[in-house]
Symmetry: C2
Subunit: 415 residues, 2 copies
């Protein structure tokens, strides 16, 4: 079973808004065994939307469209759908009632009239009510295809997909099982890895596929197995992983984890270790990454972002002498930061970053793109340096944070 | 002049990787007056890539394709391009030499042979060398269309686009000027706003277009003006903005800023104010957002993330009594956090967040989705509460951080 996603919105094509809907929808569909074979992004124009619908319905059984159903003039999805499906737009009483209740609840009854259009739907559509906004989701079934039209706001898309559309699709089709296992490999260049496991890869059964996903210095090998019998699939997948082990075991940091912060969680909870962060150039990204995992409060006690260098002295006890002699972007400052952090938060582990991501340098004229990070695990300490002048500010913070956690994980695993 | 983007990669369609390339490329193209009219995302399959090329070249003069040119077996872009353009793949000496130098520089000469394929290009392509990776960018010109093939890794895509492709396109075509102005409006529901400015919108000249971009509780009105004479465009645009002012002035927090953190920067630098953060439930996102702006070190002195509640007491001086009586997710704790933060960092402004984003509650059984945030500007203090049970962890942190900065900006503007 396959699907296509149709993203409707000038704001995506202009680059003003990053499309996160298609990533979310693709992930949720994959988890129930529906693979997305295309994503089409089209502007808020009737013909473009109709062309997108044509291409999407030609290639996929299920089409999920988002966007273009707000109350403003630049939203054209409803009209395009009516023309494409040769249908009438009608006011749906149940949806209008739902809308009324929403406005009463939000004490905005004066806005009802202009939002009346949000209750106008295709006459032959099935409606899913919106619990988080004004526009409902419509589903049209025609020629064996299911086409959904959703709002574009991610806050509304997510609950629609998770709570209504996925359960609907599950019930509607008897879907094959799908199993995924992600193996994280470090210190192994992609090309060499590919060469090393070539024989194993070529001998994989037809229902198991392999992808390489490089993330920072880590490569995620994703094995995807599809079949009717779940137990058989599990056995088959673990048998293939067993065969792979001799080739790569020494470089594997996780046999079944996706994000580095999730891998870290497993290890810290298992080893009963606590963690704190002291960030300068990553500006909060490291803590954000760690706390993006549910349950992180079990091991993450907190962090400090002493952005101004005086705060490194005041809060973390970095010595002024070190800063003046070695500059703020130095191995020594990174070390004193992680030391101060471990002391402040009383944790087993502390990590620190100090660097300069540009476009402008700091008051010490540090070389742009330089970062030192220090990792402390009880008495163990290691400082590393990275030089990333080609990365912009946000990529820099993201890359460094990924790398710090990856190193921490590999020290913890080797430990 | 228009363009289409072709994203090639199973990892995007599976939801495993969020596509950020198309957003970056679209933004850079828009800045030189090239609008993206479609984005096609296709799997690593020869036929799918060829179909994507067909659709993209039919609709646009410029096609920018990314992905599928690594050294591994699952990368098929080169072959698909050769078939589509009916061309031969040949080893390019200059590219191979470039590759050799890269491997010598990285001390990985043993890897050269397996990466040799990276120097194999279409015989009729123009090559742009890759300064940050192994695969070059190829450009094919056929039937008046320009088709670029780039690697998929964002770290490589960005410098290719910014340093090579944009300058090439600028030189190649004499492009119209494009001017954008973003006006940020708060406390104005989209539907009411649309009604209020309808007459003005309908009277806009043909070369100026308007979009609504809702972000959190803020609406960005984006005006885009296209024309041949830059000075004339500037005058025209500012005349239209003048006409708009009477309708919305009271609700505008910025007349020409894009992201809230950039708007904040302008205000803080102008007013010479410093800022610090104390985050619990946002876990670093607030600081990350603030420090994502270049030059933020001028006003952002630092932040603390006292994730564990004992750290709120130890580092920020929140009283145990308040926590035990009011629980950790309370107005009073938010207030004491911002107070402690202002003291710790000695800043004019401090902001704090305390809440619980789920999926699990905290040790005080706080209601999932609740957050209190406190904003202090010198002696002024205001605490607000949000209830966002429908948001997942990351959206929660993101929404709250946006909202806190938005409120801070509106207090500073009204001040």
């Amino acid at each position: 079973m396959n699907a296509a996603i149709l993203i409707i919105g000038d704001e995506i094509l202009s680059g003003n808004t990053l499309d996160t809907n298609s990533n979310f929808i693709a992930t949720e569909l994959r988890n129930i065994g529906i693979s997305v074979s295309r994503i089409f992004t089209v502007p808020d124009e009737i013909d473009a939307i109709k062309n997108g619908l044509k291409a999407a319905t030609e290639i996929a059984k299920i089409v999920i469209a988002t966007g273009g159903i707000g109350p403003t003039k630049d939203d054209k999805t409803r009209t395009a759908f009516a023309e494409f499906f040769n249908d009438q737009l009608v006011l749906d009483d149940e949806t209008f009632e739902h809308l009324k209740q929403l406005f009463i609840k939000r004490k905005r009854e004066h806005l009802l009239e202009i939002n009346r259009n949000q209750a106008v739907v295709l006459s032959k559509s099935r409606i899913f009510q919106n619990e988080n906004g004004t526009a409902p989701c419509q589903m049209i079934e025609e020629n064996g295809k299911l086409v959904f039209s959703l709002p574009g706001v991610p806050f509304e898309v997510k609950p629609f997909i998770r709570n209504q559309i996925i359960p609907f699709l599950r019930e509607r089709f008897s879907l094959k099982h799908i199993l995924t296992q992600i193996i994280s490999v470090v210190d192994f260049p992609e090309s060499l890895l590919s060469q090393t496991i070539e024989d194993w890869e070529l001998a994989l059964p037809e229902n198991i596929s392999l992808s390489y996903l490089p993330v920072g210095n880590r490569i995620k090998l994703r094995l995807t197995a599809v079949g009717n019998d779940l137990d058989q699939l599990k056995n088959q997948l673990s048998a293939e992983v067993e065969k792979l082990k001799p080739y790569i075991s020494e470089n594997v940091i996780s046999w079944n984890g996706n994000e580095i912060q999730e891998i870290l969680k497993e290890i810290l909870i298992e080893k009963k270790l606590t963690l704190a962060t002291a960030e300068s150039c990553t500006g909060g990204e490291l803590a954000r990454l760690i706390t993006s995992v549910s349950g992180s409060s079990k091991y993450f006690l907190g962090g400090v972002i002493p952005y101004d260098y005086h705060k490194k002295m005041e809060i973390l006890g970095v010595s002024e002498k070190t800063i003046l002699e070695k500059t703020v972007v130095s191995e020594e400052v990174a070390q004193e930061m992680s030391q101060g952090c471990q002391k402040l938060f009383k944790t087993d582990i502390s990590i620190s970053t100090t660097g300069v991501s540009g476009p402008n340098s700091d008051e010490f004229n540090s070389e742009i793109g330089t970062v030192f990070y220090s990792i402390r695990i009880n008495d163990f300490e290691k400082t590393n340096r990275l030089f990333l002048p080609h990365l912009d500010r946000n990529d820099f913070a993201h890359f460094v944070s990924q790398r710090v956690l990856q190193d921490l994980v590999s020290y913890l695993v080797k430990d």
